[in-house]
Amino acid sequence: MKPRTAFVLLAASVAMGYGVYKAKYEVRELKVQAGNLREQIRDDQEAIEVLKVEWAYLTRPTRLEELSKRYLELGALKPEQVVPMRDIELALAPREAAAPDRKLAAVRSDGR
């Protein structure tokens, strides 16, 4: 084997070895990162679970009714407050006389 060939091969193998070890260390580093992320995701998921429960607890109807009575001037929905779109149209019609008929027709079609 000629010395030059041997040298080239040696250099190549050293380079390869270096490359392999570098890659390996990088992978190890990434693995640690992945583990940390996994841990973080789990923590976040647990926190989300707790928040979901807290949400359910804070929005329970019993409490909402109490708060609504105390802070809002809202009552139960009365039947006469539920109106078909048709009636709203009629109420709006005089004021929006200029509005094209097509628009009203569209409202009518999905109103009921």
């Binding site: 329970r60 109106v83 109420a91």
Partner: protein, 575 residues
């Protein structure tokens, strides 16, 4: 192998042959050695080539890395027990890791100061007790069990040495006692002890993949029923109250309330009355709502038509029994009038004409003779007379001498008004699920007639108090005397109920309300009957849940006409 070696021999031989000549034996062994070295060299070269290719593959193409990335899965949070939710996904029962605070008393440097600071973040801490524990030399003393996450954070922020947390998985019911009978509760080892928790205990507790249970309950509807029932229970100083909202077309139970109830976090003794589920477990003589079954069966059978007339002026005597009416009319009554005025005599006569066998068959078909099938462990068995004599036929016609659970009654009534189909009741959401095939118990025509009759009860009969503006409630009042301890009817102990449905022209929901031993008050002129106590509950519940369930209110019933001028006041300036 040997071919290759021969070839090597030849080339090597030619090259060497120029320089050295050796005799046969020596030359041959030398050639052999060379060829072996060459072979080994080739082998190594091949191996290195393979490694090189692999390195290029790994480094440049990077296929393996992708694979690694793909195998990293998001970690699953360990679930100790599956959730129970309502039909809209609102949590009814879930598990939470809860921190409990304990201390290594020896490591706490200043117990007095530590106690004072702990008290500042945990206001309900028993100071003297805590101080005593911290001053002891125990290595493990509980300070406080089950801290909230906020409290845990605050305690951590105090930075007192020697304090630690221990995480414990705990069942938590965000809705409190709102759905206690339907959901049930678990014991200290997270084993289901009642309601859905018990029924689906195995699936919920599955160690590999705990199932979630999506019930058919709607917490908004549940709350409306709950608050109206508890208000009514207090108003009439009743022993208990119960109610049910059911989708008549699917059999789904949207609300199930039984009062008194219990806090699922502290269930207490399960044999106590507050654990008893009135709706599914209790069986009662329901009284007048049974007239609906009698009349429906007779209409279906053709025994009577809506125009048939019965003489109800004189009480019926059968053996030692006398059947009489509470609101006697001095004239013969038509079938609708019998229903409207809740005539016992008329119903008994219809049942006699229908015949005992037909009556029993019909009762069986609408599920009054067998325990209801629902996904709850607490199901009561109906009580029927061992021998069905004519007198039993007569009394059963108006709901006496036969005891069924409110659930059974509701399912049966639902079948009468939903077009005539008997649905299996369920407390599990029907969405995406194949329901049991319903069977027809009456024709659509008779079902229509039953709707009209029940609507009449509210517009013109005993159920006027169940009326809810716009929602066209129909139904039937029920008032029955409870059997006393000595087997005789107790005059003052009533089971007052109302079974209603709305909208009567095409019923979607059934609402049942019942009060156990209500007492008449001034406002009801001393009456404690179903029409005075339970019917108003149904009225209020329907008004509250109608908009939630998307039932469109119609005019014509104490409803302001929707005029453009009125509309303008709602729309405001129109933008």
């Amino acid at each position: 192998m040997s071919d290759m070696a021969d070839m090597d021999d030849m080339t090597e031989g030619r090259r060497a042959g120029a320089r050295i000549r050796r005799d046969g034996v020596q030359k041959r062994s030398l050639d052999k050695a060379r060829s072996r070295v060459m072979l080994a060299g080739l082998l190594f070269a091949f191996c290195f080539l393979a490694l090189g290719v692999r390195i290029v593959q790994l480094g440049v193409i990077g296929e393996e890395e992708e694979n690694i990335a793909r195998t990293i899965s998001t970690p699953q949070v360990d679930v100790a027990r599956g959730n129970i939710t309502d039909r809209n996904g609102v949590l009814l029962a879930t598990n939470l890791d809860v921190a409990s605070l304990y201390a290594d008393a020896i490591k706490v440097p200043d117990p007095v100061e530590a106690t004072r600071r702990l008290k500042s973040v945990l206001p309900d801490l028993n100071e003297a007790d805590t101080l005593r524990r911290l001053q002891s030399s125990a290595r493990f003393v509980w300070i406080k069990r089950r801290l909230s996450p906020r409290q845990q954070w605050q305690v951590n922020a105090l930075g007192i040495p020697g304090l630690s947390f221990k995480e414990e998985s705990n069942r938590f019911y965000p809705q409190g006692h709102l759905v206690s009978h339907a959901v049930g509760y678990v014991d200290i080892d997270n084993v289901g002890q009642g309601g859905l928790e018990r029924q689906f205990d195995t699936a919920l507790n599955d160690p590999v993949s705990p199932a979630s249970v999506r019930s058919s309950i709607d917490v908004r509807v549940q709350h409306a029923l709950y608050s109206e029932l508890s208000a009514s229970m207090a108003k009439f100083s009743s022993k208990g109250a119960a109610g049910l909202v059911m989708d008549v077309n699917t059999g789904e139970v949207l609300a199930l309330v039984s009062l008194p109830d219990f806090d699922p976090h502290h269930p207490g003794d399960p044999t106590r009355a507050n654990h008893f589920n009135y709706v599914t477990q209790g069986v009662y003589e329901m009284g007048s709502p049974f007239k609906a079954f009698t009349i429906a069966a007779a209409l279906e059978d053709g025994t009577v038509s809506l125009k048939s007339v019965y003489d109800t002026t004189k009480p019926i005597r059968v053996g030692r029994f006398t059947i009489h009416d509470y609101h006697p009319e001095d004239r013969p009554l038509t079938v609708p009038e019998i229903f409207l005025h809740s005539s016992n005599i008329g119903s008994a006569k219809i049942a006699v004409d229908l015949g005992s066998d037909n009556q029993l068959d019909f009762f069986r078909e609408v599920g009054l003779l067998e325990p209801a099938t629902i996904e709850l462990p607490e199901v009561g068995t109906p009580m029927t007379p061992p021998v069905w004599r004519e007198v039993n036929t007569m009394t059963a016609a108006y709901g006496h001498g036969i005891a069924v659970s409110p659930l059974q009654l509701s399912v049966g009534i639902a079948a009468l008004v939903n077009g005539g189909l008997m649905k299996q009741p369920t407390i599990i959401s029907a969405e995406g699920r194949r329901l049991a095939e319903p069977h027809r118990v009456i024709s659509a025509r008779v079902s229509n007639e039953m709707r009209d009759l029940m609507r009449l009860v509210v517009t013109d009969g005993t159920g006027g108090n169940a009326s809810a503006a716009g929602y066209r409630v129909g139904g039937k009042t029920g008032t029955a005397e409870k059997l006393g301890a000595n087997g005789t009817y107790a005059r003052k102990s009533l089971i007052s109920s109302f079974v209603g449905m709305f909208p009567a022209d095409n019923p979607k929901y059934l609402v049942f309300a019942m009060l156990d031993e209500p007492h008449g008050i001034k406002e009801t002129f001393g009456y404690a009957t179903g029409g005075w106590t339970a019917a108003p509950v149904v009225s209020k519940v329907v008004s509250r849940i109608g908009p939630i369930l998307g039932v469109y209110p119609k005019g014509g019933e104490h409803l302001a006409p929707s005029s453009p001028a009125l509309m303008a006041s709602y729309v405001g300036d129109g933008r």
